[in-house]
């Protein structure tokens, strides 16, 4: 199972995957070899405790170390909002999250994990958030790469996704930004800073709803360096709780960040912010400008929504949405230009503050997806994690550019992809070395050499050995097959002369062969014996006797055909 996420836009059963697609009768353990979680975002791991503890799964769950560290915290946070705030029942408990995490096996980048005798997995750096990974899944010669979410351009705190040319049979890629080609990141950053700066200059308050981990750190580093450079004094706050802790994770998992941060962390740890302080609820009413990072990112609940309500009425203020918002959230509504929002208890909220959208999501855009395809050279592509219409466009583009088939199954749909694996066999070193020596240092594409061997299939092993060795091993004797053929020829010479004439003729035709005229009245072409005889009644009708072994079939047939045509008169 690749990822086990939840849908942010639903609050009913539809938020979790429908596991009855796997089995109708409850527990999943016997249907799954393993579960792999690509990163800690809830749309990739939100249903994990539900799946493992409520539906029932006891096998291994693989994720990277940072994901293992951060995932339970986000799950607990999600649980609190759902159960404690909204009062839902029939939801997973804290204990279930703990029990679920006990089943997690942490993996390192590039480590090959042997799940069972056949199945092996390997993680690659995906760059999307701290600890995000792509996974290669391999059985024998067949393999699948699942990207999770990834980012092909390095940013201020993470590196770019990377994979080697592993030529998987299927590449399962996210396609969030299937049709977007984003302008340069530098422009977006400049835009962002300009907007924040202007707003603060005119005394406004800026709200940036973020998820605690991921873009939050990226934007903090951006603002921190800007504040330092411009010597600004307006306070920057970070909503408390999770986020302080989050920065600790970044410090301890610094090996997962980009090269620059890793190189300088001893002198200056980029996640120790000087200008950014912890937020207190009371600060929201302070006069004067300020910038606040608050969770969650889609303005659907919690502190960010509270602050938004307070500040929405003033046109001097600004909210900057740095990422994607799911339909149904306040974030989605205001981005679509809605100016009046219905709140709980029939109150309406007028939105006067400026609303800005700026994509800082660390997903690969169309260019990035194509780049990854070029990197991995898959034989088939399967698009997921995107909108159908946009996927359609990308699918066409991929099929055009790479001429490989591209699939985009909808929920509940099954895609069958044919693979064509070759068969691994053990070849005897003697045979291989002999063939390679005969073949010469460079292969000749015009005259391919045919090698012969015998494949022995025994106890699940396949061995290719030379014929002699196979016979010896199996205790069999070799059969001799000889072909003998008589050709009648009119030739007015003595038998001996005819033989000499044949010898001379063959000499001129078969230049590359050894031809011998033996004193016992035979001509040997390689191992083919040629004799001439005639009867006393018809001395001019010569009977030529040819005899060859199966090994010399081609040459033997050729000779008999040649001699049937008679000898040239010129001899």
């Amino acid at each position: 199972m690749l990822d086990c996420g939840m849908h942010m836009g639903y609050n009913d059963d539809r938020r979790f995957p429908d596991f009855s697609y796997i089995t109708q009768n409850g527990r999943l353990t016997e249907f799954l070899d393993c579960v792999i979680i690509s990163h800690f975002h809830l749309d990739h791991c939100g249903a994990l405790p539900y799946m493992s503890e409520m539906v029932g799964y006891d096998g291994p769950i693989y994720m990277t170390h940072p994901t293992k560290a951060i995932c339970p915290i986000l799950l607990e946070d999600f649980r609190k909002i759902t159960v404690d705030k909204r009062g839902e029942t029939n939801f997973f408990t804290s204990q279930m999250i703990k029990d679920c995490m006990k089943k997690v096996v942490p993996i390192n980048l590039h480590q090959t994990v042997q799940v069972d005798d056949e199945l092996e997995i390997k993680a690659y750096y995906a760059g999307h958030v701290l600890g995000a990974a792509m996974v290669q899944i391999k059985v024998g010669a067949e393999s699948v790469v699942y990207t999770g979410d990834y980012n092909m351009t390095p940013d201020r705190h993470l590196g770019a996704a990377w994979i080697d040319k592993c030529r998987p049979d299927i590449l399962i890629s996210e396609s969030t930004y299937a049709t977007t080609i984003r302008d340069s990141k530098r422009c977006r950053e400049r835009d962002f800073l300009k907007k924040v700066h202007e707003s603060v200059e005119r005394g406004g308050k800026v709200l940036i709803p973020v998820f605690a981990l991921g873009r939050a750190q990226e934007l903090c580093i951006l603002l921190e360096t800007f504040w330092e450079r411009m010597n600004l004094k307006a306070p920057i706050y970070f909503s408390t709780g999770l986020t302080e802790k989050a920065n600790h994770y970044y410090k301890l998992f610094i090996t997962w960040t980009n090269q620059k941060i890793r190189k300088t962390f001893v002198q200056r740890n980029m996640f120790e912010f000087k200008h950014i302080k912890a937020f207190d609820r009371a600060y929201a009413d302070n006069p004067g400008p300020m910038v606040v990072f608050a969770t969650p990112g889609m303005l659907h609940a919690g502190q960010s929504l509270q602050i938004f309500k307070k500040w929405a009425g003033n046109e001097k203020n600004m909210v900057i949405m740095p990422g994607y918002c799911v339909q149904g959230t306040v974030g989605h509504k205001i981005l679509n230009g809605q100016k009046k929002l219905e709140m709980e208890g029939r109150a309406t909220l007028e939105v006067k503050l400026q609303v800005e959208y700026m994509s800082f999501s660390a997903h690969a855009d169309a260019k990035g997806i194509m780049q990854l395809i070029r990197m991995a050279e898959p034989r088939n592509i399967l698009l997921v994690h995107g909108e159908a219409k946009k996927m359609e466009f990308l699918k066409d583009k991929i099929e055009q550019e790479f001429s490989i088939s591209c699939f985009m199954p909808a929920n509940g749909e099954t895609t069958t992809v044919e693979t064509n694996p070759s068969v691994p066999v053990d070849i005897s070193l003697n045979l291989l070395k002999r063939e390679m020596a005969l073949g010469g240092p460079l292969p000749d594409p015009k005259k391919p050499r045919t090698m012969h061997g015998t494949l022995i299939m025994k106890d699940n092993s396949l061995r290719l050995v030379s014929g002699d060795q196979a016979l010896k091993e199996l205790g069999l004797s070799e059969h001799q097959l000889r072909f003998t053929c008589r050709v009648q020829l009119q030739d007015a010479h003595s038998d001996a002369d005819t033989l000499t004439r044949i010898y001379t003729h063959l000499k001129s035709v078969l230049k590359a062969y050894t031809i011998q005229h033996l004193p016992d009245g035979t001509v040997m072409v390689e191992s083919i014996v040629i004799k001439v005889s005639s009867t006393a009644e018809e001395p001019n009708v010569k009977v030529i006797l040819l005899s060859w072994s199966y090994q010399d079939e081609e040459l033997g047939s050729f000779l008999s055909t040649l001699l049937k045509k008679g000898l040239p008169a010129a001899l």
């Binding site: 045919t450 022995i456 002699d468 047939s557």
Partner: protein, 627 residues
């Protein structure tokens, strides 16, 4: 398959393995014990060391006053220290394809190899090994470069002269191969050739060999290596530990089924128990501090020091150490402490779960935060003004020949209140102390070496069952000082193959098979027939395609149909191509159908009276008939 042994030091190995057309160097250890023959390099001008008498042979024939000095009854070389490199003449080192590093102590000779032998290959190491190895090299270079010494002594090395010198200088080996320390530039260039690998990562070398590092449990990122093809497996075990300290535990099961196991890096102090030594360390330290004395701990800047600090952290309150500060003085002290905290993936489970909280895995973060542990790049600068006594000083180098430790020896050596505690096992402590004698200071020797001892190793070998074991000759006999202890050696059946510096061992291997891929189109065309119950056979005729050491069998291409030209008749007269041998004929002949076919053929043949088919053996395969 051959093994070239370039180092005689069992814990600082350097071997080259030739295996299936690849040349693989296993570790690149630098033997630093040669430094013990040199005078210490003082950081601050030392009256005592600068006024030592030069050495003249008893008969006055040889005068090496400038190069050799007499100090405390021994003769030392007065020059920048030199170190014993791996053997460079045994084979052409430019042919080495890759270098596999097992831990940061075993890579100190890397710049000599990568920069001065024409090496063009790749070095493989884990990230902690690279980062901490870099720190140790940086420190090493820094120790040498900050006390420049113009003099380089060479006369004493001449064979005729060395023979006449007093011991132990007389017995020094390979003195002509000794070299000075490299420069930072060479370090950077050497380390730029390192490619990072993770545990259990399979790395393909030229498609012929696969190498995989495995956790060895000895230090951060330390690894053993598996070198294997589809049929042969060589395990390289170097510096492994089964004790639970900070690194990830040793991966033993992956070493199973090796054809050859190369065993190096066992404990250097087989008689000492690391846990007991740690206790002794703490109690001696506490005793000295309580009596108002200072404690000097000469140590490497990474490794055991993390365990020492952790031990002190737990022990501090109960031991009544008061406010005595701990100082860690090294050019890389800060980096070493910081780096230790960011390698969660490489730590033991216990420490990993701390990171999940999130808390720093090592408690020295708290010691630093509460100012109990202070770190300084050197004794100059801030340290001189903030220094308070009594205190505990951790500093290098453990050989006592260079680094800040030289200063503390001069400073504290005269007082019997002070104690020096040796924890590193790499140097004989009496030899290390020789140029400082006579000393009033107390000396305590608690070497902590967590590497495998002989008992653990024989248990391990029983478990993983290698066919052959290769090890340094030192492991095949008891240590010279304890020749009656037959338990301090390897006793195996078959006996291990022992090596010494410059040995070339032929490893007992017979390669029989190679992996080849049969393309699906070809595989489909094969017709297996069951010869015996459970054994099927198919004859294969195919085109062999070999590229990058990978072999593929493709179907024989069908000859292109001859173009219908007017010269067709002439084409037919071309003699046939010489083809390879035909598949062999064997097996039972289905007699009934064969006779039937023969009968049919005979009818056809009878129409051409000049042709006849004759079967000239008892058994016949198939029904092929000549035209």
């Amino acid at each position: 398959m051959k093994l070239y042994c370039l180092s005689g030091h069992p814990t600082l190995p350097c071997n080259v393995l030739k295996f299936k057309s690849t040349t693989i160097m296993l570790d690149c250890g630098l033997d630093i014990t040669s430094a013990l023959h040199f005078l210490p390099l003082p950081l601050v001008h030392s009256q005592r060391l600068s006024k030592l008498p030069g050495w003249v042979s008893k008969d006055g024939m040889i005068n090496l006053e400038k190069e050799l000095k007499e100090c405390a009854g021994r003769v030392f070389v007065d020059s920048l220290p030199e170190f014993c490199l791996p053997e460079k003449e045994l084979l052409d080192l430019s042919t080495v394809d890759v270098i596999l590093i097992s831990n940061y102590h075993c890579m100190m000779a890397l710049p000599y190899i990568t920069e001065h032998t024409g090496f063009t290959g790749t070095v493989y190491a884990t990230e902690p090994t690279l980062q901490i190895g870099r720190l140790l090299m940086e420190e090493f270079v820094n120790f040498m470069e900050r006390v420049p010494k113009a003099q380089s002594a060479t006369c004493w090395k001449s064979k005729e002269i060395q023979r006449l010198l007093p011991g132990p200088l007389k017995d020094a080996q390979e003195v002509w191969a000794w070299k000075r320390c490299y420069s930072m530039q060479e370090v950077n260039s050497a380390l730029s050739k390192v490619q990072l690998v993770g545990y259990s990562q399979k790395v393909e070398l030229f498609g012929a060999v696969q190498v995989t590092p495995l956790s060895s449990g000895y230090s951060l990122g330390s690894s053993n290596w598996i070198i294997q093809s589809h049929y042969e497996k060589v395990s390289y075990v170097s510096g492994s530990s089964l004790l639970t300290t900070h690194p990830q535990p040793m991966d033993q099961s992956s070493l199973k089924n090796s054809d050859v196991l190369i065993l190096t890096g066992l404990t250097q102090i087989p008689t000492a128990n690391p846990d007991g030594m740690l206790g002794e360390f703490c109690s001696n330290l506490a005793m000295t501090i309580r009596a108002g004395g200072n404690v000097l701990v000469p140590c490497h800047s990474s490794g055991v020091i993390y365990d020492l600090l952790e031990c002190l952290y737990q022990f501090m309150d109960s031991a009544n150490l008061g406010t005595a500060p701990f100082y860690f003085i090294s050019p890389v002290a800060n980096s070493s402490l910081e780096f230790s905290q960011i390698f969660a993936e490489w730590l033991c489970q216990n420490k990993q779960s701390k990171v999940y909280l999130p808390e720093p895995p090592f408690p020295h973060a708290e010691l630093v935060q509460t100012n109990k542990l202070k770190h300084y790049p050197s004794i100059h600068g801030d340290f001189s003004s903030e220094f308070r006594q009594p205190c505990v000083v951790f500093t290098g180098h453990p050989s006592l020949r260079f680094g800040d430790v030289v200063h503390f020896m001069e400073l504290w050596g005269k007082s019997s209140l002070n104690t020096i505690i040796f924890t590193e096992p790499d140097f004989a402590y009496l030899d290390a102390l020789a140029p400082y004698q006579p000393l009033a200071m107390k000396c305590v020797y608690c070497p902590i070496d967590t590497r495998l001892n002989f008992h653990q190793v024989s248990k391990l070998l029983k478990e993983v069952q290698p066919l052959h074991v290769v090890c340094p000759e030192q492991y095949t006999q008891p240590p010279p000082s304890q020749s009656h202890r037959s338990d301090l050696m390897l006793e195996l059946q078959p006996p291990p193959m022992a090596y010494r510096r410059c040995s070339v061992l032929g490893l007992p291997f017979r390669r029989r098979y190679e992996r080849i891929q049969i393309l699906p189109e070809l595989a489909k065309s094969l017709v297996p027939s069951e010869i015996k119950p459970g054994v099927s056979v198919a004859t294969v005729s195919a085109v062999l395609h070999s590229k990058d050491n990978k072999h593929v069998l493709q179907p024989v291409p069908k000859p292109a149909p001859a173009p219908p030209t007017k010269k067709r008749k002439r084409v037919q007269e071309e003699p046939p191509e010489r083809l390879g041998p035909k598949p062999l004929l064997s097996g039972a002949v289905p007699l009934e159908p064969f006779l039937a076919t023969l009968h049919k053929q005979n009818k056809w043949c009878s129409m051409l009276p000049q042709m006849r088919v004759r079967v000239s053996c008892k058994e016949i395969y198939g029904t092929k008939c000549s035209n």
